[in-house]
């Protein structure tokens, strides 16, 4: 045994002068401070220590902006702070706005990371029935949210196009007597797309989102077709064909037709999601270049989730969070570099955090908010009428654990669903102000934890924060963004980041 002595700089704290704040060291001798209203300041370490010690005078250049943000008690405007918090947390007073409808579990792709536990196309008992569709739409319209979005997913949701058509028609009928704003979106692999379906989706302003994981070989390796011919009952010649070609063909079709229909292409275009596997890691620049080449304005990098097939194929496709964050950093920096050259593209997850950090509002992204959107911001209706607090919940059920079910369509009332003990548990286990480590984390005003992910990984909705990959991911991204802002002497990166926070509503078009 040996005894050692550490000599550390002493922290003098004069709390009488300070408003509430959280902070962290982001390297390069800089400290970032945040507060409950989501305001932030980046200070050199020496200035931070003077701030703590009550020695930052009113003539200090950082005093006035920090006072306006609520970091000094003497200058704190309590009404203003309350108004800012209310605006940021507006979602706490609303009900679920995202209503995920799993129209079928059937799918003809066999993605290596499939989270949804898809079924073969010959299965006849995994489609959402008209009765369930109507109940789901009825339930969605009970939500106290003034805005609702139906998201059709699966399986491959367009394999049960009848359910989508009925849901849209019934929702439009209900909308006549409702003040709600209603959107529809479909997440499709394009394998069942044809001109009739495409034109119908555009006629009814159903937003279309697809998956594009990267260049052809990477996309097709991640998202191969199923091998058995009976999975292609409409006679689509998939054998030997490329999933990537199918996606690109229909992206081009939709984007051309939106323009021909007079839609603003900035607002009406195909969005794509990118899922990261081990094979993506060395190909950051190629993936960004592909998105730019295709004219996509947003690339949302997503890590694998611990659901469905991904749990079985992890050894083949998985990676550590450190590896993922290194990949993410390469993508982010390359996208910033392209923006500096005048190319318009953003990274989607960064844009979510930047909206929280740089605007007075919150994008109400259900997976990154406090409390989490599960049950209070989104609801998922399984094909069989079972209700789950989120798509993750039904994925968990697909793996045989349905304990997060919060009701059954046709039997459960809205009040019973929203007040279900599971929903309460999810709120409690994701309210950052009350979670160990999160409550004092600099990222608390912007972050969100995912209890169902926690349960999948540790068997505990709360989990130990430092051991959860989502904590590492979100904290890593926030640190990167603050670091890039701290090093941005000329304000060029801040200008780019601010542009990423601008969201135009589609009804502008």
């Amino acid at each position: 045994m040996s005894t050692h002595t550490l000599t550390l700089p002493h922290r003098v704290v004069q709390t009488d002068h300070l408003g509430f704040f959280r902070y962290t060291d982001i390297g390069h001798g800089k400290v970032v401070l945040t507060n409950d209203a989501g305001e932030w300041s980046i200070l050199p370490e020496a200035t931070f220590r003077a701030f703590l010690a009550g020695q930052m005078g009113t003539d200090h250049p950082d005093y006035a902006p920090m006072a306006a943000k609520g970091f000094f008690r003497d200058a704190l405007d309590l009404d203003d702070m309350a108004a800012k918090i209310r605006r940021k947390r507006f979602y706490a007073a609303q009900g679920p706005h995202l209503h995920v409808m799993i129209t079928t579990l059937r799918c003809n792709q066999s993605c290596r990371y499939c989270h949804a536990s898809r079924e073969d196309m010959t299965k006849s008992d995994v489609d959402m029935s008209p009765e369930v569709v109507r109940h789901a739409v009825d339930m969605a319209f009970c939500s106290t949210s003034p805005y609702i979005c139906f998201e059709y997913t699966g399986g491959e949701p367009t394999a049960n196009m009848e359910a989508i058509q009925l849901a849209v028609a019934y929702a439009n009928h209900k909308k006549k007597t409702s003040p709600k704003t209603v959107d529809h979106s479909v997440v499709t692999n394009m394998s069942f797309m044809n001109e009739e379906v495409a034109e119908w989706l555009m006629d009814h302003e159903v937003l279309v989102c697809t998956s594009l994981d990267g260049p052809k070989d990477l996309h097709d390796w991640n998202r191969g077709w199923q091998k058995r011919e009976y999975n292609f009952p409409r006679g689509v010649p998939m054998a030997g064909s490329s999933a990537y070609d199918q996606v690109l063909r229909w992206m081009a079709y939709f984007n051309r037709r939106y323009i021909e229909r007079g839609k603003d292409p900035d607002l009406w275009h195909i969005d794509a999601l990118m899922t990261t596997t081990r094979r993506s890691l060395p190909r950051a620049r190629e993936i960004v270049d592909l998105y730019v080449e295709l004219g996509l304005r947003s690339l949302k990098i997503r890590p694998l989730n611990p659901y469905g097939f991904a749990t079985k194929t992890w050894r083949q496709i998985g990676y550590t969070m450190e590896e993922y964050l290194a990949f993410y950093e390469e993508v982010l920096d390359y996208i910033i570099e392209l923006n500096l050259q005048g190319v318009e593209i953003q990274e989607g997850t960064a844009a979510i955090f930047l909206q929280k950090m740089m605007t007075p509002f919150d994008p109400n992204y259900v997976d990154i908010r406090s409390p989490i959107g599960s049950g209070t911001g989104q609801v998922a209706y399984n094909f069989d009428g079972r209700i789950f607090p989120s798509d993750e919940g039904r994925m968990l059920a697909g793996m045989g654990s349905d304990f997060v079910q919060i009701g059954t369509l046709g039997e459960t009332s809205y009040a019973e669903m929203i007040g279900h003990p599971t929903v309460r548990s999810l709120v409690m286990s994701s309210y950052l102000d009350a979670l160990p480590a999160c409550h004092s984390c600099f990222g608390a005003p912007y972050c969100g934890v995912r209890p169902i992910n926690n349960f999948m990984e540790s068997g505990d909705l709360f989990a130990q924060r430092p051991n959860t990959p989502k904590c590492a991911e979100h904290m890593g991204i926030m640190r990167l963004l603050f670091d890039r802002l701290a090093q941005d002497v000329e304000g060029k990166v801040e200008a780019i980041f601010r542009r990423w926070t601008i969201q135009r509503p589609r009804d502008d078009a």
Partner: protein, 149 residues
């Protein structure tokens, strides 16, 4: 000498022991509140096995054993430094949180009080929306100006 330079000169000393792949601190609760010790230790559960003990009245023992069995003395010394820094940060956080607790309660209550009122109106509207308007036996939905009503 500037104020910042004066602050720079003030230091805190913290003693720790290294033994068989472990770091041990005996921390005085008068100097380091128990919540600060727990808060700092919690942040190391991803890298270390954390054991908390009571070596003496008013003291908390924190033993960190690196999960990486190959951690050498230099790694453990760095770990001790990180823990000490985090401990000082936790003390600051707790002092700031305690001193601003009432202010936060006030503005949080003010922020959410207004939303709760709005929420009850939304709930009422939703309840009305949820009713089956097609089954309007009393013809409440029909405008009274309608001559066919």
């Amino acid at each position: 000498m500037s104020e910042a330079a004066t602050l720079e000169r003030q230091t805190t000393e913290l003693v720790f022991e290294l033994q068989q792949g472990r770091v041990f601190f005996a921390l005085d609760e008068d100097l380091y509140p128990r919540d600060a010790i727990f808060g700092a230790a919690y942040l190391f559960v991803d890298r270390c096995w954390v054991f908390l003990t009571r070596p003496a009245d008013g003291q908390v023992g924190v033993r960190l054993r690196a999960k990486d069995p190959s951690a050498d003395e230099a790694t453990l010394t760095a770990l001790a430094g990180e823990f000490a820094n985090e401990l000082l940060n936790q003390v600051v956080r707790i002092r700031v949180a305690e001193s601003t607790a009432q202010i936060r309660e006030f503005y949080m209550a003010k922020a959410f009080f207004a939303d709760q009122a709005q929420s009850s109106i939304d709930a009422l509207l939703a309840e009305l929306d949820a009713e089956e308007l097609a089954e309007d036996d009393l013809a409440i939905e029909v405008p009274w100006e309608d001559p066919d009503a």
